[in-house]
Symmetry: D2
Subunit: 388 residues, 4 copies
């Protein structure tokens, strides 16, 4: 269960900026780099690269992507922005206390965490920050360029895993969009793993910049919506009439607090409802609640109550209770997406990358059922290989 | 909610043995014709044909089968075998009391029920029955032939919806196989909607008779296994490791009592476990219980508890609670299967009909995930049309 | 299951205004007399008096109250106010459709329903009503006095079972308080079965009128709070630390719509939280949601999620799912309370009646755990007998 | 969350066999001393005595027992029998891996564990053991006497926390009864925290020995039955008719494996059903399953499904899901019982100690509802004080 007795893992890769054998390396720049999802991603990647843990939850380590020429986990180099100050190694220890990471795991990859910690740059804008939008974007883009150059990386993919932000005032670029603009400016692939605006801002999405990089989003599909994306198609395929679909989410980590803000929750819930709207002939009654319950820490409980009609109007009910660890659900998807976007970039794919609806609550395109999305992902895996 | 005020439905079709306009009609012969599933099927077909209810739960009334030239619901003619004596109209009223059928519905289709009741023939063997296997098969086959001829039917499909029988002593033909043998002898298509042996007996399946009719089975997928056939693929597709999958079923109708017999439950549970074995890389720990709880009547509650591992060995849990009415879940599938088998027979299809795994816990062939089964069913719907 | 074949029940009591043997009769005046709770109460009382149903859910028919000299069910005479117009017999049939009342039951007590329907007086104020507060109270009090006199009743108890009202603007008497004021003026015992203000208005509670009648309230404890009043004491008694107690209620009847209004829900939730605050050493984290889900009709589902700490800080969870019919849960408590208040009035008890916390979410006094409340109720039952 | 940084705890008490200030000390002899419950009890007692953890779950540390003159936790001295060989410190580390104990806690009380480990004596009989019953009892009794003398203890209480044993062949003393006989012979108070036979054997219970020591049992009430002991009284007190009460337990520790044996489960289930039989007017339908699910380790999930009738025969359902850690639920009760029995012994109480039904599924006497049992326990707490 723990990696307690494992030898200290230090591949020495970072000192020279090269992977063994001088393979080109890929940057993964995390917005919210000191958060739970980012920390779990970084710890997990190091643990997997060192063989300390099996790759549970990573599609990119299965047969599906065997021929897709993705960058190996050992060749991913992490950096990122954050406004929070708790250093990564300390954050990782907190995640041990929260039951997310096994005891001993942060220590086993301690050298890696220390190196990444040094690469994290201040995010923004902070309260009282007087910089203009242009200055902020320029600063963030420079961070990206420096990171890529200083570490001798072939390319860098930016992934937003920061806490959900409240809806922005009209016209104004919210923080998530500042980072997205910086990614465009620095020519980096971009993944929005949150429901925040990111590239979905009129000032960004239709610009020339967005046509120059591959991107994907939005809002990682980790729990309740994942379930809904298989259950709603089940009802549809059996011609059963869903009358009401109600849900309550209890979660306590940073996301719980962020989403207790109704404005932030609105974006999240839109994604959750979309999966019903697209998979069912009629949108059922019912609401979705997101409660901040600090006692639950990073563990999330989602209860769904589905009232449906069967033959001759018979009334039936399905209830589901999902108890998962949000960071552990998200991290392998983040690794998958970063690797896929890097490969897409290498192949010259530009604009929205098709076939990634499997990963998102609110994808740019494609089918809404998980089985259909899995097929599209497999086709993308083939496309990535074909062009190699 | 009720069909209370609906006019008495009597199309007068039976007197002359013809549907309006002299369309050829199709027989549906139900083994267990006075049981809950059969009664709900017969009442429901009449109610749908009369426009009293929408066709919730019937795939064959959706666009998927629009071009498959299936026999219309109004042209199905029901008969069957049963060892029970409660007349159909009385049984239907009991189902009103149990909350399965809306009040007023049995009365609204009372004429139809009375006609079908007169066509039900005694099943067997009863305790003390001295007839030989050959005599029983011959008697049942004669019942089928008489039914088809007397009602001027183009063809008849036999559907086993009787209570699950205990595993038979070796070598001996259990009752379900006697009826199956009779179907072969009478040249009727055959559907086994139960986990009983039916055609899966070495004396039957590989005989010449089985090569002369279309058949399908076995064990209708109505509740817990339906759910499992979408949830297990979800875990697999996300590379999550299912460690234990435990389930308890509470049900009170005849099926509850039958399945409280461990021998009968064994057959049922084999089907339930197969869906996990075929959809997951490894068979997880866990048992399935079926409890007879008479207080629940025809309503079934299934609780599933799934312990799975996520990224870095994190332990997560999904629980599902399904509260459904078994008869109402089964009846539309019975209608679908009868119509599809009739059409397959008309097209000259013989032997196991491919593409029906969507309907069964323990299908003869095909993929094990519901989405894959749905695709195969759609392909079958096209094949049925193509040859027309 | 149904009272279908029962003979028409008509005791003929109403014509002469006397019970058989000229026993004195007791009036029960229901505010919201055409609602689900009132209709179920009236139908149920008639059904029980006629021996059509066992007295499930009535404490006053158990040994506890055997010597308390309560008015017999057969001697209760119903009337009431309502602003809704659907006549009681029609409302009762709707409750059959909703699965609350057995088919045949409204017909079996049809004569009784028709009589009560004629006694229902218009409530208010309606939109556009120009009457002053004083005029409204006077009108309602006159209705009460007329009812008592016209039916030759010994006394009348007023029970508020109307939909929860939004919190009133300050200073203004909300409708529930108008009816309460009328009860005081007419000298009637008063029960507030809802979270609405009723007597809890500064203009009423401390007046001379309130000292002249027995009263009890408020907010009937029918489901989630009933459960909480046994579970919270369990945690306390085992010295387990409850960290978070979250709940979601789905309900579809009139109450669902009323409580979807946050102002109305606030009053209800206050009662729900009080049970935790009074039974636990510390108020746990967690929210309560009330969702209007019309598809569920009168059936209510309440999910509770309780995170607690055990020995050495171990984290444990209890979840409960309560699926009940609100009207059927409320009606027997309404009958109990009306009978108890009538007896208290006969004994000359005035002001708040002690010992009724068993029935309320937000009682005026007494212990907060159900076991303690049950003991107090038994003591009240004895007091009612002692003075006889 | 962890006691990681706590200083090593070593009170040095053991070397001299005295507590600071030469207070008399009390022995607690655990049958199954290297099992999960025993290990958690020993670690927990040391952690509480050292102030590393709050006394969550211990009634004996609340106001109820403030004046009962119980032996302080710091003055309990542990020893025991076991047939298993894994040393206590290793077992404690395994419980860290299983999520039962916080990381760092075993190390923080390592000195204490090492001392207790040295006191554990071999249990029996092992396979192939040729000793007679008399020889075994004599040997175990000598172990108890030696333990008490060698550690200078005032008295010793024996607590059986071993895995549930299968029902013994008639006439033969099962292992649990051998240990119980040894306790009688050595004049030690005895607690049976398991459903095994222990003192409930005709050869033991009615002997002179049993009249010389205080004893209590049987089968600790930790989870599902605890819940049932508050829910069943709730239904009874509301005059609701429980029709079926079904339950499934999933657990993976040693107890899971032991109880997968139907013979062992039978004893356990008898206790679970007794709580329903004694709290409800009629025993409801329904079964209880205990499944061994190794993947769950020491964590237990219990699902209960309760079908009940309300007013006018309305059908309602309550479901509960309890997810707890069995060892952490049991350990504080073991400490409570050992302290109470020691005090009872000091006061000269002999035979079954009244008032302990609060702790047991299958108590010797007293009320069956938790609230009533809590009252009796409080009375016992007073009796313990009164005689001091």
């Amino acid at each position: 269960m723990t990696a307690h007795d494992a030898p200290q893992h230090d591949s020495g890769r970072d000192s020279g900026g090269r992977s063994p054998g001088d393979r080109p390396r890929t940057g993964v720049w995390l917005i919210g780099a000191r958060g739970s999802v980012a920390t779990t991603t970084i710890v997990g990647c190091a643990a997997l690269a060192a063989g300390l843990q099996p790759p549970t939850g990573l599609l990119t380590e299965t047969q599906v992507f065997a021929d897709s020429a993705l960058p190996p986990l050992a060749d991913l180099v992490f950096g990122g922005h954050d406004t929070a100050c708790t250093p990564l190694p300390k954050r990782a220890e907190e995640l041990v206390g929260a039951g997310v990471l096994a005891h001993g795991l942060p220590a086993a990859v301690g050298a890696e965490l220390a190196v990444v910690e040094r690469r994290i740059r201040p995010g923004g804008p902070e309260r009282g920050d007087t910089r203009t939008t242009e200055e902020l974007v320029e600063c963030f883009a420079a961070d990206l360029t420096d990171f890529t150059r200083d570490n001798g990386l072939e390319r860098t993919v930016v992934v937003n895993v920061a806490s959900t932000e409240p809806a922005a005032a009209e016209g104004q670029l919210p923080p998530s969009s500042l980072y997205a603009a910086a990614a465009l400016r620095a020519g980096c692939g971009y993944v929005n793993f949150t429901p925040s605006t990111g590239l979905h801002h009129p000032d960004l999405r239709d610009t020339a910049g967005a046509a120059q990089v591959p991107y994907a989003g939005r809002d990682g599909k980790t729990g309740q919506t994942l379930l809904r994306s298989v259950l709603a198609p089940m009802f549809r395929s059996r011609a059963l009439t869903v009358r009401a679909w109600s849900g309550t989410n209890l979660l306590g980590g940073g996301d719980g607090a962020a989403l207790a803000d109704p404005a932030a929750a609105a974006a999240k819930n839109a994604g959750k409802e979309r999966v019903l709207a697209e998979n069912l002939p009629e949108v059922p009654e019912g609401e979705v609640h997101i409660d901040d319950v600090p006692a639950l820490g990073d563990w999330k409980t989602a209860w769904d109550h589905i009232a449906f009609d069967g033959f001759l109007g018979s009334r039936m009910i399905l209830q589901t209770i999902w108890q998962g660890c949000d960071s552990a659900l998200a991290a392998p998807l983040v690794l998958d997406l970063a690797r896929i976007l890097a490969r897409a970039d290498a192949l010259g794919l530009r604009g929205p990358v098709d076939g990634l609806g499997f990963y998102f609550k609110d994808p740019d395109s494609g089918p809404a059922d998980l089985a259909g999305q899995e097929r599209e992902l497999a086709q993308l895996a083939e496309r990535l290989a074909d062009r190699a």
